[in-house]
């Protein structure tokens, strides 16, 4: 086991896949110099500029070229810099990548990974801070992954690259420096949640950066209710079984995400649980997410948009 940062884990995962499979390559803006956050630093030295490819500033065509190259049997890893900029490429992702297998009767497949970092980070303001995972969860044909730990960023990025379907891969910008143990031999599957902690009173489902607030809330709940924490990590297809099994035992569900609460993926989980386990529920299902406003530039306002540990603890208490 190695200790790596979340950033290094992603880089190591890509490098490992590129070593194993000559058809894997990456393209995006500024990759040669290492990517915006350094997630690609040094890779061009090992793999050369034909496989770590600097592109013109053309998000739609970066994604579109990846679709074409994927249909020809290569495995492109697309770097979009920010989920916010990936919106310039949504047509290619939603209308092309997600549809090709289905529309071509299974003849074509689009094994691409669209890396698009999400989340609030150092007051980056409204156009560099969004968490848009629920947009893509809505699109049939796409896989959506939001890793939280370095181990997951390693294992899930490798799984995403090997996946034969298009994967929207959303790293959280505020986690780049976070370190953790990474088992490079572990084989992590897509579509399986991670049980962070067992508990018996409340099921708390979360993913990505907000899990830090969840971790910080747990000491505040030390003498209170026993909370079972699930890191969903793959948003679609989501691990419905693990969530339902848990809520069947606890009778209570709280979903926490950094994304705007309205129409967030928490709504899908809440509705599914309410529909399947109505008779088991001991309290109304609760959701925590950002207010429906653009993420403010101002640091104190940005901070106020984030889910705090105290808010989580208070909500859990209120469910008992």
């Amino acid at each position: 086991m190695a200790v790596m940062s979340y950033l290094e884990a992603g880089k190591a995962a890509l490098a490992a896949e590129m070593r194993d499979d000559a058809s894997v390559w990456a393209l995006g803006e500024d990759l040669g110099r290492g990517g915006v956050f350094g997630q690609y630093r040094g890779l061009v030295d090992e793999f050369g500029p034909a496989r770590i490819v600097d592109t013109p500033i053309s998000e739609a065509t970066i994604m579109g070229a990846a679709v074409g190259a994927a249909l020809l049997g290569t495995r492109p890893v697309v770097e979009m810099r920010f989920a916010d900029f990936a919106l310039c490429a949504v047509d290619e992702l939603v209308n092309q990548a997600a549809k090709a297998r289905y529309m071509f009767g299974g003849q074509g497949r689009v094994p691409l990974v669209a890396r698009q970092p999400i989340g609030m980070w150092r007051s980056s303001a409204a156009q560099h801070s969004q968490s848009l995972e629920s947009w893509y969860a809505h699109i049939p044909g796409l896989v959506v992954v939001c890793p939280f730990t370095p181990a997951d960023n390693y294992g899930l990025l490798r799984a995403a690259i090997r996946c034969d379907d298009p994967v929207v891969y959303m790293e959280h910008k505020d986690l780049w420096a976070m370190t953790g143990e990474v088992d490079e031999a572990a084989d992590l599957p897509l579509g399986k949640a991670r049980l962070v902690r067992e508990g018996s009173d409340v099921t708390l489902v979360a993913w990505s950066g907000v899990l830090r607030a969840v971790e910080a809330a747990l000491p505040l709940l030390q003498d209170g209710p026993s909370v079972e924490v699930i890191d969903l990590r793959t948003i679609y297809p989501w691990d419905r079984d693990m969530v339902l099994d848990s809520v069947r035992r606890t009778g209570r569900l709280l979903v926490v995400h950094e994304a705007v609460a309205t129409g967030g993926f928490g709504a899908e989980i809440a509705a599914t649980v309410a529909g399947a386990l109505f008779g088991n529920l001991k309290a109304p299902v609760r959701r925590l997410g950002a207010p429906r406003i653009p993420i403010p530039y101002s640091p104190p306002l940005e901070e106020a948009c984030k889910i705090s540990p105290a808010q989580i603890a208070e909500t859990v208490h209120g469910m008992l």
Binding site: S58, T61, A69, L71, N95, G105, V143, D164
Partner: protein
Amino acid sequence: MDDTPGSGQDFPVIARFEVRRRSYLAPDGAPLRALPSFASDLDLLLALYRGMVLTRTFDLKAVALQRTGRLGTYAVSLGQEAVSIGVASAMREADVLLPSYRDNAALLWRGVKMEEILLYWGGDERGNCSSGPPHDFPFCVPVGSQAPHAAGVAYAFRLRKEPRVAVCLFGDGATSKGDVWEAMNFAGVWKLPLVFVANNNQWAISVPLKLQTASATLAQKAIAAGFAGEQVDGNDVLAVRAAAEEAIAAARAGGGPRLIEAVTYRLGDHTTADDAARYRPPEEVQARWKEEPITRLRSYLVSRKAWGKSQEEQLAAECQERVEAAVERYLATGPRAPQTMFDHLYAELPAVYA
């Protein structure tokens, strides 16, 4: 007066560009200049001719099927057959075709069966599992989105060091899309083995070319992307074929991309869902019939004594027969079972779909 900024002063001219227009046959079929070398192969010319006639027979039948409720919306290539046929005939099997929705002729030339094309436009995506080269792309309906794909396809050839060429067709209207421009820019920067073909049929549904662009030619759009563009008479299949042949050979040899603007005219409605008489004077269309590609090549073949009335009658009957047989096979195809709706959604259907 020269309106170049800085003209009349002694600033040096640092760049000059040219766009040429290629044509070999006049509308009456008379050669305008020495013909390209492949034109000495009469069998090839006859094959091009047959391909265009089959396409037209097929197109007209498809419209009849739509009018009688047996086919969905359909886009004919009436008057533009030379573009698709000329380009497709210059490709190798291993090359990859990225067509627009109007390139029925190219698909037929590449081996897609007529009943498969009908199946697709009849609303059954099994038609996309065609008998054409498996690496070819199917019809692309979102305007221009095949261009970025073509850049990726060509990049995949580069990555794998394969001597193949991607050939991407789109309309004049598509050249207004950022996708098309971005793809040309990619192809230029990366010097990709990629040939772009703009089928300039003068219309994008009801929007005429002059409302689409102020550019004097579409071919010149390549210049800003750093490669050559050429205009060809798109009603002259010899010109299209020759330009495509050269461009594909150059691309295969590592010379990078090219853009061919094939100037033609959409003699039919945009699709069966359109009535062009509402926005286009019939006299304009009538005048353009004098330039259409099939009569033109036939006139030339007749002048070479390679074609005559009996062959024409025989070909017409043969095309009719082939099309009717394909229609029968199409109509005999049963509908898809509703439970197949989840097929091919993912490599493996996720458990959450249960």
